[in-house]
């Protein structure tokens, strides 16, 4: 259970998140909304990159707000960014290994774990290739492997399907759906691809101008007139 409790973020006079409150209970949940709605800001609050003026983020009785960003990663928070953040001069395996470098496990354990997650995402063959020589989908898969390695408790993807083909998006969706069974982690996904959200997210939060305008089972949320209005700008609501 991920509890977002009354989270408020202001950037000067702009209210980016206005008392957002919700509970994600399903293995894969979505966060959608038009540009500027506050989706990435919410993810940045959970990651610790943006300080909230008010509110708490609680997962499995752990309040994340008191932890530095890197300590949240040690705790089990994983996230990917809108642009894949893969170091060009590290190999695929090394890029994944960074995520567990802090761990007290032996090198053999870490190496085995890295091999396991690369196998899952289908990048085992490219384990020794430098990041600079990967295409964008391979970089995205490496990003997913980074999220799976170690003992993740909460994984967040920020527009993971951006720039991917239909086939690649489908493969990515399959991988995200497998995460809970493989790791036990809960996953939050932000994306503008409503088809992807509808397919993989059991429940979805909709933000608009920093406020929660809908939350519930994805199919219901997507057919909510308020959500359609927020996306399409319909005036007859």
């Amino acid at each position: 259970m991920i509890e977002v409790q009354n989270v408020t973020v202001r950037f000067g006079g702009v209210v980016a998140l206005d008392g957002v409150e919700t509970q994600f209970a399903n293995p894969v949940s979505g966060i959608i909304g038009p540009n500027g709605a506050g989706k990435t800001t919410l993810m940045n609050v959970v990651s610790g990159f943006v300080a909230a003026q008010n509110g708490q983020i609680v997962k499995d009785n752990q309040n994340l707000m008191g932890l530095a960003p890197y300590k949240r990663a040690h705790w089990g928070l994983r996230r990917s960014f809108q642009k894949e953040e893969i170091a060009d001069d590290l190999t695929v395996a090394e890029n994944v290994l960074v995520q567990v470098d802090h761990s007290t496990l032996t090198s053999a354990h870490k190496s085995k774990d890295v091999a396991r997650v690369l196998e899952i995402v289908g990048m085992a063959e490219q384990a020794d290739r430098p990041g600079a020589r990967l295409n964008s989908f391979e970089r995205r898969l490496t990003d997913v492997a980074k999220c799976l390695v170690g003992d993740p408790k909460l994984i967040m993807f920020d527009e993971p399907a951006g720039g991917l083909s239909v086939e690649e998006t489908a493969r990515l969706g399959d991988l995200i759906l497998e995460i809970h069974a493989r790791t036990g982690a809960q996953t939050l996904v932000i994306d503008h691809d409503v088809d992807l959200i509808a397919r993989i997210c059991s429940e979805t939060l909709v933000l608009d101008f920093g406020r929660k305008i809908a939350f519930g089972p994805t199919a219901e949320v997507l057919s909510d007139p308020k959500v359609k209005a927020a996306y399409l700008g319909t005036e007859d609501i």
Binding site: S47, G48, F49, A68, P69, Y70, A73, H74, L77, R78, R79, F81, E85, I86, A87, D88, D89, L90, T91, A93, E94, N95, L97, V98, Q99, V100, D101, H102, S107, S111, V114, A115, L118, A127, D128, R129, P130, A132, R133, K146
Partner: protein, 344 residues
Amino acid sequence: MLPKLFHITPSGAAGILFAAFAFFVVPTLAGSLWLSVFTSMGCFTLAIAGVAFMYARLGMVSLTQVGLMGVGGWVMLRLNHGFALPFEVNLVIAGLATMVLGWVLALPALRLRGLYLALVTLMAAGGLEIILSTFQFPNGGSGFWGVQTGSGAGFRRPALAQSPEAYLRYVVAMVTLAFLFIELHRRLAPGRAWALIRRSEAAAMAAGVNVTFYKAWAFGISGLLAGGAGALLAGSLGLLDGGTFRASESVMLFALAVVGGARFWLGAVIAAALFRVLPALLNNWGVDADLSFVIFGAGLLHAVITAPNGIAGQITEFFAGLSHKLSNKLGLVPSTVIEGSADD
């Protein structure tokens, strides 16, 4: 799956061969003037390795390096004239003291990047220049500063390296150890953390990297190398002068690190050769050594416009291409010198 910690890359093999040449051959061929020039070049190779490592691994521009060399040299001279400790002990203490100072200077700078970091470090170098020029270097005098007028007391060189030839070998050995030390870091968790920090600090934090810690660590290593370089330079000359450690020299050192190729061990060697050997060569030919500044400027333009990896990058690419052609001709698997960008 994961690369072995102990393996020799083509670039590493070339480095070992070069170090062996510098260790065994150069001291036997060089006259007294050139022994001094090459020893000085070795010391500056060490300092440039520090500044190049910061730039190549973290994208951080530190312009304090020559000032920190001065600090290392000061500590070495102070210890040499004040205590009867072996040279090696003094060298380690000088390196560690400079490393600590590097950390202290780094603390306010850790939140800065790019131009602002460069400016702050340059100001620190300016401060060190003033301090070193004002208080001068210990030469056997009494008191904390240890400065006396007239001729200074003698300097104790390492027991293993009393002659100029042996001291050059000693410096070559130290520089080789320093490169191995940097390479070891690059292959372990700090190297991976630095690569990710250079990519994006947010991504590094999301991967569990303590960015402040690893940046401070890098500053410390850079300071350690600068301090060691200054201490070795003090051992070479026996005395130091404040004019050697001007802040402007730090700017020059960084520029030459870019010209040489910050990502490569050879880049630091080329930069040090340009910095120390080229002016000596020009002097030897009866040409004004200031002409070297014109050559440095041309080299910098060349690096900025056509060779982002510096001269060393171009040399590496040339040999990689040659190896590729030869492999194709002989029907062998092509070399992966270029592909393995980790093999710097």
